[in-house]
Amino acid sequence: MTALASHETSRTRATGASLRLAILLFVADPQWLVPSTIAPIVFGLVSFELFRGEGPYFLTYAILGAGMMSMWGQTLYGSGWATGQDRFLGTLEPTIQAPAPYLYVVLGRIIWNVVAGLFGGLIVYLVVVLAAGGPPQLPNPLLFVVLFVFVMVTLASVGVVFAAAFVYSRYAGFIQNVGEFAFYIGTGCMFPVVLLPFWTNPIALLFPPTWALDALRYVSIPGYTGFGWGWEWDLVGAVAVTAVYAALAGSVFTRVERHVLETGQLSDY
């Protein structure tokens, strides 16, 4: 009983300490938030200009899309760095040798990435609202906030899976930089996924943010035409896919730890 309790504490402490360190590193050099907000701000303003005169709810599309892109960007780049930093700094083996599972160390970093992404989203929101001259109309603000938090949870789940995959790959940088737009398109950041060719829809639904974003648009844009099943089923789908991601991340990280302990080759880039 005592051993179990200390085991659990160790995991919680590992995540807490990792989160704290991530916050301190961010506070020491917050300029790194800027690169991940520039593109969404520009895209938000461009979209606002392209949607000009199309109706009040198109502002919601622009803001929601740009904010989401900021959080996506932060998740995508942050998750690569969540494991990449250990390789870069030479701390991968020592961290994996520690009693706390590596997953819980990475989890702390990912949680901070998502929160930092939210800051980026807020900056984007403020800039686009300033350019538009006022905030967008929201029919149900409370539900919007609840769903927005849920979108962050789905992004965190994607972040953990990406972080796990990036340990095995030398192509994290390639996926982040070259694949950035593909993620924005595939998850329907700025426009509904249903606008894409039908064959792409099942692929898009493999990503939890696609479901969550569709739900978010249903509750914030009257007359929105997304997936035909409505926001409630979007939510169910998002929960299911997020659960799969969480399970996948746990399994991949266990495999990573076993692999590195057996071969000791993981740092070889």
Partner: protein, 273 residues
């Protein structure tokens, strides 16, 4: 005797130029791994173009507006190599600890920086060409054969001017802690200010002036003009504007490097990361 010593220790202009042209992609330029280069040429133009085409479609834009956006984004992706990659040379030199050696080297600076731009110019040319092929194939942008020579001149000049602009940002980055933020700003700001997704005339006047300061604005105008089959006289003026913007960028870059080099040698404070 003095002249002999001088010539013995000063590498020839072309030697410096070619050495940098060959070595820079492996040493100081950012994102020059083969996978990144292929991704920049073949994937980024496609995904960026498709993204904005769908945004225009959502905003009830017609086929002409979508084609306008497709051409704009085909050309705008040139910034990945010409600006983002080139302006990182300064960061890389600082990170690798080679900046001090560079600053005390007798190599001709113009040859050195121009040499670094050779591969980015070629990749930029390839990126825009592939982007325009995507625009013609996917969004039915009409590019008649008769316009190809003018288009080729416009694309080459745009690539040259944009790399010149990247070198200018690299010069500014010498004074900064990192060039990443600067690179990110100018990687995307053209999408807003250069008439990539909508005509520059839609912007407020101060933003139009800002857009005029970017070589991408002139390069894009020249490319659009060439595709539209504008007369040689009209195109000549646009080519002149593109060339001038590139010339100003390179001149400012050389000036900035001179100023910051002197400052670095005098204070020893800006050559490190």
């Amino acid at each position: 005797m003095g002249a002999t010593v001088h010539s013995a220790y000063r590498p020839a202009f072309w030697r410096t130029f070619w050495t940098n042209a060959v070595l820079a992609p492996r040493t100081s330029l950012g994102f020059m791994r083969l996978d990144f280069v292929l991704g920049t040429i073949f994937i980024i133009p496609l995904t960026q173009m498709v993204f904005f085409a769908f945004v225009v479609q959502l905003g009830n834009g017609d086929a002409a507006q979508i084609a306008f956006t497709a051409v704009g984004n085909a050309v705008a992706t040139v910034t990945y190599t010409s600006v983002f990659s080139v302006c990182q040379t300064t960061d890389t030199e600082k990170q690798q600890g080679t900046m001090e050696h560079l600053l005390v080297s007798p190599a001709n600076r113009f040859a050195l920086y121009l040499g670094r731009g050779v591969i980015p110019i070629l990749i930029s040319f390839a990126t825009v060409t592939v982007g325009l092929v995507y625009a013609a194939t996917l969004y039915h942008v009409s590019i008649p054969l008769s316009t190809v020579p003018g288009l080729a001149v416009s694309v080459v000049l745009t690539a040259l001017a944009m790399v010149g602009f990247g070198l200018l940002l690299g010069g500014v980055a010498l004074y900064l802690r990192t060039s990443i933020i600067l690179g990110n700003i100018f990687l995307f700001i053209g999408l807003l200010l250069s008439g990539v997704n909508f005509p520059v005339s839609s912007l407020p006047l101060p933003l139009q002036y800002l857009g005029d300061a970017l070589p991408l604005t002139w390069g894009l105008s020249a490319i659009r003009g060439a595709i539209a089959g504008d007369s040689l006289g009209t195109l000549g003026l646009l080519w002149g504007a593109v060339a001038l913007s590139g010339f100003i960028s390179v001149s400012l870059a050389m000036g900035l490097w001179g100023v910051f080099e002197r400052r670095a040698l005098a204070t020893g404070s800006i050559a490190r990361f």
